[in-house]
Amino acid sequence: MIEIKNLHKSYEMGSSSLHVLKGIDFSVADGELVAIMGSSGSGKSTLLNILGMLDNSDQGTYDLDKIRIANMDEKKAANYRNKFLGFVFQSFNLINYKNALENVALPLYYQGISRKERQVIALNYLGKVGLKDWSSHLPSELSGGQKQRVAIARALASNPKVLLADEPTGALDSKTSMEVMALIQKINNEGKTILVVTHEQDIAEMCKRIVLLKDGVIVEDKKVKQNIIKNV
């Protein structure tokens, strides 16, 4: 599903340049649930943003579902993001003046789906994350866990090939974190490929594979026995 080779990324800051990713080779198969770990500043988010086409790399190749992602104009990139990729952010990134249903329906708007159909699909995904009854609530009226579930529903609404989550539980307490991870496991069990960036060992152990980043390179990549969350 994902295939990257010799990926490099530097940030230019005035005269100095910070080399963050120093040659990443990495591939993810269909249906995997991968945790990306590493200390703060190791380049986890940078990697995820490049995988999510929110940022571009300086060197190396990236294939997403056998399509080479390179030198894409912003219009094409927008279409790829819309069709292939779903995002979940630590800070939720919901649009504050749209209610839960409208937030979830937004990626469908950019697919040109009609309003009626959008609402049906969005409501269905809200149901999937257990928030059917909260569809008319604004983000400000939701708890952190609920917001993140809305964000997950939104990421899933366009039925992407890959779900990318950057510290999805970073702003949540441990109980809510469990709920969100349980949801991620459920979605993964339905066949979706998911990458989760996290700091926390126990969150990582709920995935099927852990990749450890250090100083811009992968130092460890292992399959783990998944810690499956039951009854939350």
């Binding site: 929110l54 912003e74 927008a78 990134n93 003046y97 708007y109 950019y110 009609s114």
Partner: protein, 410 residues
Amino acid sequence: MFNIERWTEIFQSIQKNKLRTALSGMTVSLGILIFIILFGLGEGLKNSYSDLFLNNANNVIYIYPGKTTKPYGGFKTNRRIELKNADIDALKQEFSSSIEYVNPSLFVSEPISYGLESFTFEISAVSPSNQLIEKHVLMKGRYINEKDIKEKNKVVTIGRLVARDIFKGDDPIGKFINLGSRSFKIVGVFQDTSGDTEENKLIIPYTTRQQILKGTDVVGTVGITFDQSWSGSQAVKLSDNIKSFLKKRKSVDPTDPSGIRIRNVADEIDRSLQFANALQIIVTFVGIGTLIAGIIGISNIMVFIVKERTKELGIRKALGAEPNEIIKMILTESIFITAISGFLGMVIGIIILNSLDSSALQEYFITRAGVDLNIAFSATIILIIFGVIAGYIPAKRAAQIKPIVALRDE
């Protein structure tokens, strides 16, 4: 162009961000409103000017005899110059090719009475050409005529307000009125659109007055008309010639500023029209200035709006919004708000202009304040167009920044 889905998005954005909408809407409304009111009042000033000149003949030169301030030709200084009938005849003869009418006049101060009642009005002893010079319009009867001048008839043509005050609706024609100790027959009533002053006058033949003053041949101020189509400079030349002719004839020092004085209406109008034009230019500049201020206002607000929405735009991009879609969204919203509030400001401005108390405005020399609908529309459309341009630049910039940069914005 018309995309119901985008409009739904936009209406939601407008509805949910009322402060932002109100802020940009008000800037546009206010810009147009102030423009229209300023422009309308400026037009009113100009109207007052043109009215002022349209109501009197402007091809007139007035001659005022006075006291000399310099000794000349054996005469001492401080000598009173008097124009006589013979001078008028000489003038007519000398300038027969260039002047149309000559209107000698005498100032009359006599008590006026009708029956037992007495009144105070201004009396002018003039020639029939006074009617043309002052643009008196006959309502009834006739004006004093050449026959009256020749026969020194005791007849009078009265102003509309004089007739109203003395006769209170009765027909004044044929009635007799006392001016001083003499009885004059009323032969006509006139009106004048230039105001009350003229309509409060009584007009009698100047020769009749001279006869009453023991057969004097002295006249006071003399009005002279010339060809309507003459330019200001031609008129000035004529008045200069008349001045030197009279000064020579009356032995007044050519360099004496007094003795014989001349007032040239055409020249005054030329200068006043220059003033009116300058006024127009100022009004136009102020108007353009207001528009520019409005445009700068919208530009600032558009930059602010786009800045405020940067994160939202980042989210939309992450969810798959194309750059074009972002530009269209921001622009359509800005066009919509600018158009609605622009026309609102225009309508309110016009309503305010029309509801201004016109008699109160008259005190400030403003007549028929109002704005040409074409100008109002053009100004509104210009503001809308610039609003679009002002929105396009930040929208384009926002559409171009990388989604990750936009998302990082707080």
